[in-house]
């Protein structure tokens, strides 16, 4: 029996509601995640810049905290609160803003447990919008998850569908380590089947989105849907594609990827992040060092060029990896 269809935005909102109902230690912190503070007009006027947290302010009095525009202050506060038994879900509106508050994640949350000899527990979830396509320009369109994947002590989650978004966010909130949760700004309107009841998706377990025998495509976040389109197109020309969605980049389920490459002998990694030191290079290199003998062809990486994200729609469309880019990578 089919479950109901809701959007990626609704799936995230529902996960927040269910986790806040389940555990009173879960609180939300972010700029205008409610909106209307101090104004004469409505409270909860925004529910987040794109409406993802709409309605939570009224549902959970005192647990949805707006902030001054002080990311260093409130992200650090989220880290501090997490060490005291709360489970803060902090929203960094755009991941690009990590530029003004990276320390809280890089040098505090990520390192407490190790520096403090295992005595610290920091169950923090940072939600942030990432990705190109909204014509938002170079400072509001980056992916940046490679940078967080690089930092030991952090977990990195990139949901590729409404179903993944709900289950992975629930797991992020219940997880006892600091988690960066990446939401692609072009996907909020995407709908899909999502169970109404609460559920979690475990970290470090990749999802085989489609089975196939000729080539393995590892795709991240929004790139998964492009890979599916490419796979359909390639099927027509007789190429059977296996698509793997790692779901979490740290931890990374390398075994599932290796197993698939062992079967197909070919690997294409599709990553929306800038090409240097990104996940495409990370996954490709790990596969090559672990399963060189299984590879029948060069690993292919599909990523944008090494340039900032351009504003003009015509250029931004060229910038983003496309279905055609994936098809070409598989065919050549």
């Amino acid at each position: 029996m089919a479950t109901r269809k809701i959007s990626y935005r609704e799936a995230i909102n529902e996960a927040l509601v269910q986790e806040m109902e389940r555990d009173s230690n879960v609180i939300l912190i972010g700029t205008d995640i409610a909106g209307g503070a101090g104004g004469e007009g409505k409270d909860d006027a925004w529910g987040g810049v794109l409406g993802v947290t709409k309605g939570l302010y009224g549902k959970f009095p005192g647990r949805v905290l707006d902030t001054p525009i002080s990311e260093t202050g409130y992200m650090g506060a989220a880290v501090g609160a997490a060490t005291q038994g709360l489970r803060p879900v902090a929203e960094l509106m755009f991941i690009d803003f990590a530029g003004v508050c990276l320390d809280s994640m890089l040098n505090q949350a990520a390192k407490f447990r190790y520096m403090f000899g295992g005595t610290a527990v920091t169950p923090l979830t940072v939600r942030a919008m990432y990705g190109a396509g909204l014509r938002a320009g170079a400072q509001h369109s980056q992916a940046l998850y490679p940078m967080f994947t690089h930092f030991p002590g952090l977990k990195v989650v990139v949901p590729s569908s409404p179903y993944e978004a709900k289950g992975l966010l629930a797991q992020s909130i219940r997880d006892d380590d600091p988690v960066l949760f990446f939401e692609h700004k072009l996907m909020y309107e995407v709908t899909g089947e999502v169970p109404e009841e609460s559920y979690t998706i475990p970290f470090g377990k990749a999802h085989v989105v489609r089975e196939g025998g000729d080539v393995t495509i590892v795709a991240i976040g929004r790139m998964v849907s492009l890979a599916e389109l490419a796979a359909t197109e390639l099927q027509a020309s007789g190429i059977s594609v296996e698509i793997i969605d790692p779901r979490t980049l740290s931890p990374l389920d390398l075994d599932t990827i290796l197993g698939s490459v062992n079967k197909t002998g070919r690997l294409v990694v599709v990553d929306e992040a800038s090409p240097r030191c990104n996940l495409a290079t990370d996954i490709s290199a790990q596969v090559v060092s672990e399963a060189f003998g299984d590879l029948l062809a060069p690993v292919k990486m599909v990523s944008p060029p090494h340039v900032p994200v351009p504003f003009a729609a015509s250029l931004e469309d060229l910038y983003m990896p496309s279905t055609q880019d994936i098809v070409n990578a598989v065919k050549t």
């Binding site: 101090g38 001054p68 351009p310 729609a313 250029l315």
Partner: protein, 341 residues
């Protein structure tokens, strides 16, 4: 671009005494403010048609601030760092209106070849460092341009425009301290329009006025009515002269209101209808200016009406040309990342 408002400083406006402004100068001030208003009103309409990509933050209602401050700045000498709500600062500083419009449309004829957009329009040839998509991004940059003015001894001043919300960013507060410690020729203009997105300044700023923080950084904090061009003109003139003469930085708080939402699409439910109605009725700097100059007989309705017509035509041309302009050449995707690589 004859109809583009020329940079006011070229008219030699450095006397903070607004009563000294000639009618020629006043007409140019009006042209500046009217051009900004017409530019923003038109963008508001065009955005609704879906023709304009991305995030657009309109400056309508705040014109007197940009005009009053930039009147004292010299294009190509002084430096300006703006924020996401930067159209007004650019126009007041004499940036090409048509090239701005083209940039907002993402066209190759834009100031940034369409690679920047509304949040990143810049004109470095005029000392305009650009709008900035990072709240609080401008003030640290201005500490640098002001430092350059100081080291080169070129007499230039660096001006940072930012909002009440930005005033809570560490970047802004560090800049105030740094500018004071280095005694920089800088002016920090905080445009307090009462809101940061949907959050009221009376909630997010833990003190009555942003300028109350100036004392903590050893600099004067000045409050001025942003609906009154003449008041802004005099206060900014004083702060800029102090900076130019080596007297150090000033935090100038301009109290004003924005007519449109935070960005296009914002329904502004965090404000009451009454509040908005009152703002447009009683806090319109253009109305105030118009009344003052006509009542005092400095300018005639006819003169102002002519500017209105010319301005409307300029904006009409700007939009028409922007729409007609070609998108960037695909090759532009890969160019201008580095000087050399």
């Amino acid at each position: 671009m004859t109809q583009t408002p020329s940079n006011l400083a070229t008219l030699g406006l450095d006397a903070p005494d607004a009563s000294a402004l000639s009618s020629v100068q006043l007409l140019d001030v009006y042209r500046t403010m009217r051009t900004i208003r017409a530019f923003e009103d038109r963008l508001h309409r065009e955005f609704a048609t879906g023709d304009i990509p991305g995030f657009v933050h309109l400056y309508a209602g705040e014109e007197a601030s940009a005009a009053g401050v930039c009147a004292h700045l010299e294009s190509g000498l002084d430096t300006i760092a703006s924020n996401h709500r930067g159209h007004g600062h650019m126009i007041a500083h004499g940036v090409d209106v048509k090239a701005m419009m083209a940039e907002i449309y993402g066209k190759s004829t834009g100031l940034c070849h369409g690679k920047g957009g509304s949040m990143h329009i810049s004109d470095l040839s005029k000392g305009f460092l650009g709008a900035n998509g990072i709240v609080g991004g401008g003030p640290p940059l201005v500490c640098g341009t002001a430092l350059a003015h100081k080291i080169k001894g070129d007499g230039g001043v660096g001006v940072a425009f930012f909002g009440d919300g930005a005033s809570n960013e560490g970047a802004v507060m560090e800049s105030l301290n740094l500018a004071s410690v280095w005694n920089l020729p800088a002016v920090f203009v905080v445009e307090n329009n009462g809101y940061a997105e949907a959050t009221a300044a009376n909630w997010s700023v833990s003190v009555d006025n942003v300028s109350d923080r100036a004392a903590g950084f050893g600099m004067p904090g000045v409050i001025v009515d942003g609906t009154d061009f003449f008041a802004v003109y005099e206060a900014a003139g004083e702060a800029i002269r102090r900076a130019r003469e080596g007297g150090g930085p000033t935090l100038l708080e301009v109290k004003l209101t924005r007519f449109y939402g935070h960005f296009e699409g914002d329904q502004q439910t965090y404000r009451t209808r009454a509040e908005l109605k009152n703002a447009k009725a009683n806090m319109d700097c253009l109305k105030h200016f118009r009344r003052r100059v006509t009542e005092s007989g400095l300018l005639t309705e006819a003169q102002l009406a002519e500017v209105d017509t010319q301005t409307a035509q300029l904006i009409e041309e700007a939009v028409t040309e922007a729409k007609a302009a070609p998108v960037p050449d695909p090759a532009e995707l890969l160019t201008d990342v580095y000087v050399t690589y």
